[in-house]
Symmetry: C2
Subunit: 399 residues, 2 copies
């Protein structure tokens, strides 16, 4: 039995909390499992380091930045190792390099390419608890790289995959995955299980428990993920393969407030025009989410798409250069409400219930996009919370 | 022309000071020299990390401790690199590992065994300013090690030696080496040059500018050391080979307040007894400084020695176990006053002037020890400053 545990910034936010983490790790070890612990920087540390660098420039050198950023996780890693050894449990702290995490050379947002498990296997064989500094690896050249936002989760999942761990537990300050954000709908319930795909939709739609990259990697490596709180002993939410769970019609409702809509009116309706627009956006690394094209008049068409709000100004620059249309409208006072559930695949009427529910509340739907397991609707910002609560009740998620 | 510069904790104590350091480094680079910069942790950081660890235990695991401690220098290294690049100068930040610093495995006080200069030479060839995280290296196993107190100076000297640098500048918050501590004798003067051996004596005697290990290494590697301030542009003090300077009779007066005296009365006067005592102390890593043995009575002898004050309690434990003598006296209210100068080698009467000077002031000398270039005298603590001032004047160091 091998368990990989990952503790986030708030879970290791103080010296006392690191002691609590040590106690939890030891509990797991005592239960007979081998344990690899992946840690984040103490909460606030990474932001402080970023602030330090921004004293000099807004666009710091990536190689140096990674050397800077990676230091936060090393501190937590060393402290937890010291705490464990002091409690009588042999432990070893490994930086990303020593844990064998090899990445590409895209500094500050590197991708894990391989994990050389030799050192970790040796240490596990020697009976040691391994503590790994998350969020970091090294590239071919031997320089330190960092994995970007949510990087420690990625480290944990990748290590769990490479070591063929039985479980990868992601500890945060929330109990697990909820049917919707409990701050919006107090009747929201914690889910015991959810499929990778549902989690992917929920994560990309604003559920902040896990980053998409980690869930994708877990799915790819077939890692059983559990997200749970380090502040209590409640069972968390297991994220796993779909076939291992009963199909639920709808698992959750997500609200994504970080959305902006761009509408191009009077786009010349000729082949290649859409490609031109979205290639331009892709070159600026703008993540386009929903795309809708309508038939227009006079040989022109209307094209609408949504992007993250904070990428709106870059998108504007892009669009200004293209001048592919007569008129461009920007709207960042919108939100995306989504209904997610694997059960949709085999049930009809799921979407129409959503549309009917919003209509009953007098909420106009501006854009719709659907996937096999998701219905997303763009509505006015001011209706976001109301839409979530109405849908949560309509799909009986509080029962 | 290659210059290695090392900036200590106070010189990089704030983000603004790191900017100042960047400006200084660029000045040097502009003068046509290649530059390797070695940096310490920002002042206070290493102590904070030590405090963190001491939350868990007084005796933290060495391997983890080195991972912890080494992070401070990495942060400074990355920030200075970012600042330099932002000012338009290609630079690369290297951890001890990437700078090729190989040490033994004595964690928290490792010794540098070799420097693999390959990466540094490549980066210099590419025209880059190299910033190295001081105080750290890696051992054979690949684990991070730290070099102990004064470790960043050691890093700088070792790198200067390995790269055959023309100069190794150690920047601190003082202007250089003084004839004595200016806080004791305001007439103290800064020395332009001093020999390695004199510096060694002064360093070991309480002049806090440089650690002995660094001076020893500079002497061994024949590195021209300069100690100067990062807060002004005053010329510092050059520490170099003796033959390259005119012999000065006396270079400086040092006061070491961190001394304690142990006197063993009635030691059985038989072969091997001294060896037994000092082996016991050596096993506890106690640095014995002066040793004096007098003929006693009844086949016994009196043995006196001095040790660092903070090692007195360990020494007491040692002595209690040995019970090699009838009576043991401990005194930590003493100081060591030393007169240092290479000129002593070829001049007579230097020592007698010291003894006469202290006698004139009514100061009793408890112990005397001399070397080729040094006279050290143990006196009552309360006379320390007076002795320094009197000797400073007697040897005309204020002229």
């Amino acid at each position: 039995m091998l368990i990989v545990q990952k503790y986030g910034g708030t879970s290791v936010g103080t010296l006392e909390r690191i002691e609590n983490v040590a106690a939890r790790v030891i509990e797991t070890k005592k239960s007979g499992a081998d344990v690899v612990v992946v840690v984040s920087a103490m909460s606030g540390v990474t932001n402080q380091l970023v602030d330090y660098a921004s004293h000099y420039t807004k666009d710091p050198d990536g190689v140096a930045m990674d050397m800077l950023l990676s230091s936060g996780e090393r501190v937590t890693c060393a402290l937890l190792t010291i705490a464990l050894i002091n409690l009588g449990y042999p432990a070893v702290g490994l930086s990303g390099r020593l844990a064998g995490i090899i990445t590409d050379s895209v500094h500050t947002k590197a991708r894990i390419e391989a994990i050389d498990t030799k050192r970790m296997k040796e240490e596990l064989k020697a009976g040691k608890i391994i503590v790994v500094a998350g969020f970091q690896g090294i590239d071919e050249k031997g320089d330190v790289t960092t994995l970007g936002r949510g990087g420690s989760d990625l480290s944990a999942v990748a290590i769990a995959g490479a070591l063929d761990a039985d479980l990868c537990e992601i500890y945060t300050d929330v109990d697990g995955v909820y049917t919707t954000d409990p701050r919006i709908e107090p009747k929201a319930k914690k889910l015991d299980k959810i499929s990778y795909d549902e989690m992917l939709e929920l994560a990309s739609l604003g559920a902040k428990v896990l980053q998409n990259r980690s869930v994708e990697l877990a799915k790819k490596l077939n890692v059983n993920l559990v997200t749970r709180s380090s502040f209590n002993h409640n069972e968390g939410t297991l994220i796993t393969k779909e076939e291992s769970m009963e199909a639920v019609l709808v698992s959750g409702i997500a609200l994504d407030k970080n959305q902006a809509r761009v509408t191009l009116r009077g786009v010349v309706d000729k082949p290649g025009i859409a490609a031109e627009i979205f290639t331009a956006l892709a070159e600026k690394n703008i993540n386009v989410d929903m795309i809708i094209q309508n038939v227009g008049q006079d040989g022109t068409t209307n094209l609408g798409f949504t992007i993250p709000q904070n990428e709106l100004h870059v998108a504007k620059e892009c669009m200004d250069k293209l001048s592919a249309s007569r008129e461009i409208l920007y709207n960042d006072e919108i939100v995306k409400v989504s209904v997610v559930g694997v059960g949709m695949k085999s049930h009809t009427g799921v979407a129409s219930l959503a549309f009917q529910t919003l209509a009953n509340e007098g909420i106009n739907i501006q854009m719709i996009s659907t996937s096999e397991i998701k219905i997303s609707m763009i509505v006015d910002q001011k209706y976001g919370e109301l839409a979530v609560r109405a849908l949560h009740e309509a799909y009986k998620l509080d029962k």
